[in-house]
């Protein structure tokens, strides 16, 4: 087993009086795609958002336990949440480009985090990000067009370019292809497979086939508990737990 890059120990999350996650222990390896699967309301998105402390934005949300990235406790009071979110980028279900040009969408994070020192460097970094997201060839001659003028699949790749521009170490994806057609989905999936060479990726998906296609490890959540985690190959061929088997085979558990 590789050393985990993200390590959750006894994570409990409450929304007010309602407990959403129960004692989650989950290790996530670097440079792998880990898929979080489970029925709606099982806590997979709550866990995902805990990794970059997006849940902090929900007033009644309370976190207990330990969540470390690269050995650092991200819930320690000394942690700068803005810096954390630059290190742990997020791509959402619906593409959400800023109401700015394609160039500015990617340059935005670089500017606010002051990650480049010259206009030339900024341009180079935007180009690199768009190339890494597999979008450069399609937008190179219209960088000043609005980001939302792109197709849905292109917008999602623009959001991925925006995420990787600031050199995160982790990319969180919350159903990134649910609003895309099969071709755009295939392009994103191919992109994810390439990105994992450089980043640790955690993806929430409702598509069993997508989890099976793109992840190396899969974690199955049910009613706020982690039921099973293992290699995607084993979870989708011979799951250890009956609950997992019932879920992935579409049975009433």
């Amino acid at each position: 087993m590789d050393t985990p890059f993200i390590s959750a120990a006894d994570v409990n999350i409450h929304y007010g009086t309602k407990q959403a996650l129960f004692g989650i222990d989950l290790d996530i390896q670097a440079n792998k795609v880990t898929a979080l699967i489970g029925p709606s309301g099982c806590g997979k998105s709550t866990f995902l958002r805990a990794i970059n402390r997006m849940n902090d934005l929900i007033p009644a949300c309370r976190f207990d336990g330990s969540l470390k990235i690269g050995g650092q406790d991200i819930y320690h009071p000394s942690v700068d949440v803005v810096a954390l979110r630059a290190q742990v980028g997020m791509v959402f279900q619906k593409p959400n480009p800023f109401p700015k040009s394609i160039f500015e969408n990617v340059a935005y994070g670089l500017k606010i985090h002051k990650l480049t020192s010259s206009k030339q460097e900024l341009g180079d970094r935007v180009e690199w990000s768009l190339k890494s997201a597999g979008l450069w060839d399609e937008v190179a001659d219209r960088l000043n067009d609005p980001g939302n003028s792109l197709s849905g699949g292109q917008q999602q790749r623009l959001c991925i370019a925006r995420t990787i521009a600031v050199s995160p170490r982790v990319i969180l994806m919350d159903e990134p292809c649910s609003a895309l057609d099969p071709i755009a989905t295939a392009v994103i999936e191919e992109l994810i497979d390439g990105l994992r060479q450089e980043y640790t990726i955690v993806i929430v998906t409702h598509s069993m086939q997508q989890a099976a296609r793109i992840s190396q490890r899969t974690a199955f959540f049910h009613m706020g508990k982690l039921v099973e985690v293992g290699s995607t190959k084993s979870v989708f061929t011979n799951p250890r737990e009956e609950q997992t088997s019932n879920y992935i085979t579409g049975r009433i558990g």
Binding site: S234, T237, N238, N246, T249, G250, R251, I252
Partner: protein
């Protein structure tokens, strides 16, 4: 299946394919039984009908394969369901081969009828046939009920079939040495015994498939004394 699928049509499709496999198994069992009868009392028209019926066996195998492929394409099953969808293709292949052996047996029966009587050798062949017919019936029951214990029992019984085949070979070699002129007749009986030994092997393969459907574990390696192979399905 212990739990029904939310999409009930999926269960119906899986059940329908399983029923086709069991129907094919029944036909192949009947072919085996009739081929064995021909060894005792040769009946040329009956042998011809049996040989012709093998085309029906082959057609059933093709039909099962087509149905399983369609189910996999449309339902995209995983885990237990994938094994349940793939196994009919493998089991139908084994049954189709057993059908071929029944056809060969019917062809051999003609030659055996023309050869000098050898009740001792015939007795061994009939004993092998009786063993494999019960094994076939049991392995189909094991498949129908996902019964891994019965499947394991069937696998174990194949040793008896192998032992009889070895006895037949040694007896045949001894007889050929003693009476070289009758060698062709003995060779037919040795080949006939070999035929049933191969049927036993195909039944063992079906038993392994039953085990794999239920557990996900591939027995092929462990049965040969290697480390247990885990399913790749």
């Amino acid at each position: 299946m212990e739990n029904a699928h939310i999409v009930t049509r999926f269960d119906k499709d899986l059940d329908r394919i399983k029923t086709r496999v069991l129907e094919m198994g029944d036909l192949v069992s009947a072919q085996m039984s009739q081929a064995t009868d021909l060894l005792q009392v040769f009946d040329a028209p009956e042998a011809a009908r049996l040989i012709a019926r093998d085309r029906k066996v082959n057609g059933m195998a093709k039909n099962i394969q087509t149905r399983a492929e369609r189910l996999i394409a449309l339902r995209q099953p995983v885990a237990l369901d994938l094994r349940a969808a793939l196994s009919p293709i493998n089991i139908a292949f084994e049954l189709e081969r057993i059908g071929d052996h029944a056809k060969s047996c019917a062809k051999s029966a003609r030659k055996l009828a023309e050869a000098p009587a050898d009740s001792a050798a015939l007795q061994i062949v009939l004993e092998m046939s009786a063993l494999v017919q019960v094994m076939l019936s049991d392995v189909l029951t094991a498949y129908d009920h996902s019964d891994t214990d019965l499947a394991a029992d069937v696998r174990a019984r194949d040793k008896l079939v192998d032992r009889l085949n070895k006895t037949m070979f040694e007896t045949g070699v001894g007889s050929i040495t003693a009476a070289p002129a009758d060698a062709p007749a003995f060779v037919h009986k040795i080949l006939l015994a070999r035929n049933f030994e191969r049927v036993g092997d195909h039944i063992v393969n079906i038993a392994r498939h039953v085990h794999k459907i239920v557990t996900g574990e591939d027995l092929k390696a462990s049965d040969r004394g290697f480390a247990t192979g885990k399913s790749t399905l």
